[in-house]
Amino acid sequence: MLKEYMTVREIAGPLILVEGVEGAKYNELVEVEFPDGRVGLGNVLEVEEELVLIQSFEATSGLNVAGTKVRFTGRGLELPVSRDILGRVFDGLGRPIDDGPRIIPDMKLDINGNPINPYARDYPTDFIQTGISAIDGLNPLVRGQKLPIFSGAGLPHNRLAAQIARQAGVLGREEEFAVVFAAMGITFEEADFFIQEFRNTAAMERAVLFINLADDPAIERIATPRMALTAAEYLAFELDMHVLVILTDMTYYCEALREISAARKEVPGRRGYPGYMYTDLATIYERAGRIKGAKGSITQIPVLSMPDDDKTHPIPDLTGYITEGQIILSRDLHRRGVYPPIDVLPSLSRLKEKGIGPGKTREDHSPLSNQLFSAYARGKEAKELAVILGEAALSEEDKLFVQFSDAFEERFITQGEYENRTIEDTLSIGWELLKILPRSELKRVREEHIRKYMDGEAV
């Protein structure tokens, strides 16, 4: 029988201060019983000899000082897992909400996990074909990578994330895979879009969903990504699956973090976000990767909407410092009707060098992507110049580059939401487009590749 305390002294926002507690531990799970009999969960943020500070995952409306009971469970917040979690929908704290049976756990895992020993990690080198040219061709994703989508309000990041989840696969291999989806603070419609998407494509049986909606308690969101990643670690490293984790939307997660920090009256860092946000985000993002000797892997695609499309806002900024690159969506492209509106120039995949090339994709992949990058960059630059000085001011060469960059957006970046291009298709479109440019300008690709892939000569 757990000891029950009715000695709540203060309630402020999501924080509850309890006095006279014995034996409480830092980061321990507590049950908070509301005066009306409901039971919510919370965890210990700070302990002193007499005082314990608790953050409640439930909204604290309805709590009072006199009638609230607090029970200390002696363990951290845990997620019960077994193979049966596949195909199920949970709330942000890992409780089933799909009318299915309770999970009979194989094991119960602490949701905070432990950092992977850097020495135990294996470097991600398996190219994942997403079927999207702007990603596969230029910023390829590899297994075990964490590659966020930086988006903005009203941009189709969810459609893109769903398309990646639907199409992602490693070339030439059939292996067990799973998708873990965590929704934090998104609307019912957005969440429903993903659920329907999974149902329609029969991917549901390979998916685990954790849903915290915009009207669910904000503080619950602190636990949601950790729930999802705990499930992912179980699937990847206990059941040997390749797991793709989609976390959307990290911005709301960070706001919940800020809410607690503000309630604790901590010294704020930039824009009111707590100074430890980098470390906190790292404990989420770093739970991606591969482990030497383990068959499974965790690949993360966090989605975040940049407030005011500002890449230097603390959330995208700190994220970019932790993740291995970023896919940035462009409002400008979206306005012009380009789908997916991926702004390839500032997008980056840090792990691509070892994931592509002969034996992985194709020998010409890396030089071709460099050539496309620099040609597109030059075309865009020339276009800007033309805006100021008029078309006539451009040299003949520059005009070709402008033509190239238009064609590039139209044929390479643009594709259908259900169009799944193979990497060969993607690369040949790239070579096709380079024909627009004079041969002498193709400085980043080798002559033999030009002959082989652009002219189609047999070598």
Binding site: G23, G275, D317, P346
Partner: protein
């Protein structure tokens, strides 16, 4: 002296304990039944605030705290090289072998193997008078590095016994008779990480640290014993540049501290370094490297300690007379750890929540770099070069960490995302970066490479400066507004950027360029420029001087192997020929 205290408060990595017997600032303590490592950072009455290097979940009031009575120290001795440690010198490979794939808590593993036996060959003999820093003997630590076993600071006297043979680091290899009595010496020294190791005196650094990176070595050089910082927004290539320097710099020892950065990046280093060969010795790079990995998700207090652990190890090898490069990636993460702990201590914050002592802490870290005359009677010189990356939020260089760093370091390599987007790597902005070692290094160049190297650099720099101005003009009124001379400058600047400054770290032939080849490459481009200017002077139109076939050859010159530098002579000749022959064609 050992004794017990009791935990009264736990808030994240900060634990407050009561009644610790004889607590001293920065003493190492063990907290709770798991014996988590921590360090005392504040004393108030009988309360001691402790920053704990491990995850504190599950700790609570009433748990016991044991004081070790000594500050956080590292073990220095044979076996450091090729190791990979966490922030408090626990070997990660041993931890993995014993405790599995995740970082377990309360692990106590010595920094140096207690089982391994090292062949010790004495150089001092019985009866010798020795003092601190004097070399007792040597151990072949790896194929490329001879480890010198030195008399530790504070020991002075006559050797009464010295042994030869194979020993573990704990076994006595010599006994020194001092006025205070006999001191048995082993091959291991313990040293507190926060205290700089002593030396005889500092000397000004003068010799360049050759990194093989053209933009660094020729335009913004660093010296052996110098300090540099690499600030840049994410995606601008800080880590790639740091890795390239770690791989190619002509330091004899490299200590690489991965401080609060990505796990996969550390793995990359771990997997790659043993495979890569050192261009100087032809042996695997790992044989001269010590890695310290404290990834972003590992406990934040250990991150704070990691840079000190790193620099103490670097100083130890410096004391042997080696040139050591210490690289910290990234010092911003270290500063953030400082900020987090400071916040938990409820200290009054300075700028952006960083503690007011951020500047002094950074300065005292970088001051531990330098070229010194080591302790010991042979007056050997060694150096520690410190290179720290900075990750300014949003790429904004006015933030406190960058500003505090710029006050103390002498070299600034400013990375820019704009250049990175255009795939110009290393994305060092040549207009705002600087090196205050330039004068010293230029003297060295003139003496060791070629007399006119400094002039060439100056000329190239002027062309790049001029290009920036001209670009403004072009942007406003178009290329037609430029004179022929100015268009030629634009053309040469482009060649400098593309054929000299840009360097592909992932291309085998391009990843490293020796000083001599850098000089030849630069001279090649400027030969083209000077010749063109001469022709323009003679009235030739600029159109005839650009798009020459020889320009393509200049572009490929960076791939000329180091052994075939004489091919540059031929190329230079061809440039002059081609340009003036065209002239005669026209005349004819």
């Amino acid at each position: 002296m050992e004794g017990k205290g009791v935990v009264v408060k736990v808030a994240g990595p900060l634990v407050v304990a009561r009644d610790l017997p004889d607590p001293k600032m920065y003493d190492l303590v063990k907290v709770g039944k798991d014996r988590l490592m921590g360090e005392i950072i504040e004393l108030r009455g009988n309360l001691a605030s402790i920053q704990v290097y491990e995850e504190t979940a599950g700790l609570g009031p009433g748990d016991e705290v044991i004081s070790t009575g000594e500050p956080l120290s590292v073990e220095l001795g044979p076996g450091l090289l090729t190791s990979i440690y966490d922030g408090v010198q626990r070997p990660l490979d041993v931890i993995q072998a014993r405790f599995g794939n995740y970082i377990a808590r309360g692990v106590e593993v010595p920094g140096l193997s207690r089982e391994r036996r090292w062949p010790f060959a004495p150089v001092a003999k019985r009866g010798d008078e020795v003092g601190p820093g004097d070399v007792l003997g040597t151990v072949p630590e790896t194929e490329v590095i001879t480890h010198k076993i030195m008399v530790p600071p504070g020991v002075q006297g006559r050797i009464s016994e010295i042994r030869e043979g194979e020993f573990t680091v704990d076994e006595v290899i010599a006994v020194v008779e001092t006025p205070q009595g006999e001191v048995p010496l082993t091959m291991v020294q313990r040293w507190p990480v926060r205290r700089p190791r002593p030396y005889q005196r500092k000397v000004s650094p003068y010799e360049p640290l050759v990194t093989g990176q053209r933009v660094v070595d020729t335009f913004f050089p660093i010296t052996k014993g110098g300090t540099a910082c690499v600030p840049g927004p994410f995606g601008s290539g800080k880590t790639v540049l740091q890795h390239a320097i770690a791989k190619w710099a002509n330091a004899q020892i490299v200590v690489f501290v991965g401080c609060g950065e990505r796990g996969n990046e550390m793995t990359d280093v771990l997997l790659e370094f043993p495979e890569l060969t050192d261009p100087y010795s032809g042996k695997p790079l790992m044989l001269r490297t010590v890695l310290i990995a404290n990834t972003s998700n590992m406990p934040v207090a250990a991150r704070e300690a990691s840079v000190y652990t790193g620099i103490t190890i670097a100083e130890y090898y410096r004391d042997m007379g080696y040139h050591v490069a210490l690289q910290a990636d990234s010092t911003s993460r270290w500063a953030e750890a400082l900020r987090e702990i400071s916040g938990r201590l409820e200290e009054m914050p300075g700028e952006e929540g960083y503690p007011a002592y951020l500047g002094t802490r950074l300065a005292s870290f970088y001051e531990r770099a330098g070229r010194v005359v080591c302790l010991g009677s042979d007056m050997r010189e060694g150096s520690v070069t410190a290179i720290g990356s900075v990750s300014p939020p949003g790429g904004d260089l006015s933030e406190p960490v960058t500003q505090a760093t710029l006050r103390v370091v002498k070299v600034f390599w400013g990375l820019e995302d704009r250049l990175a987007f255009a795939r110009h790597f290393p994305a060092i902005n040549w207009l705002n970066s600087y090196s205050l070692y330039l004068d010293k290094v230029e003297e060295y160049w003139s003496a060791e490479v070629e007399m006119d190297y400094p002039e060439l650099r100056e000329e190239a720099m002027a062309i790049l400066q001029r290009e920036a101005e001209l670009q403004e003009v072009v942007r406003l009124i178009g290329i037609e507004a430029l004179s022929d001379q100015e268009r030629m400058i634009m053309e040469t600047a482009k060649s400098l950027r593309e054929d000299f400054l840009q360097q592909n770290a992932f291309d085998d032939a391009d990843a490293f360029t020796s000083l001599r080849k850098q000089y030849r490459l630069l001279r090649l481009i400027l030969t083209y420029h000077r010749q063109a200017m001469k022709e323009l002077e003679a009235g030739r139109p600029v159109e005839e001087l650009i798009d020459l076939p020889v320009q393509e050859e200049i572009a490929r010159a960076k791939f000329i192997p180091e052994e075939e530098l004489e091919r540059f002579d031929e190329l230079e000749k061809r440039i002059v020929e081609q340009m003036s022959r065209r002239g005669t064609d026209v005349l004819a």
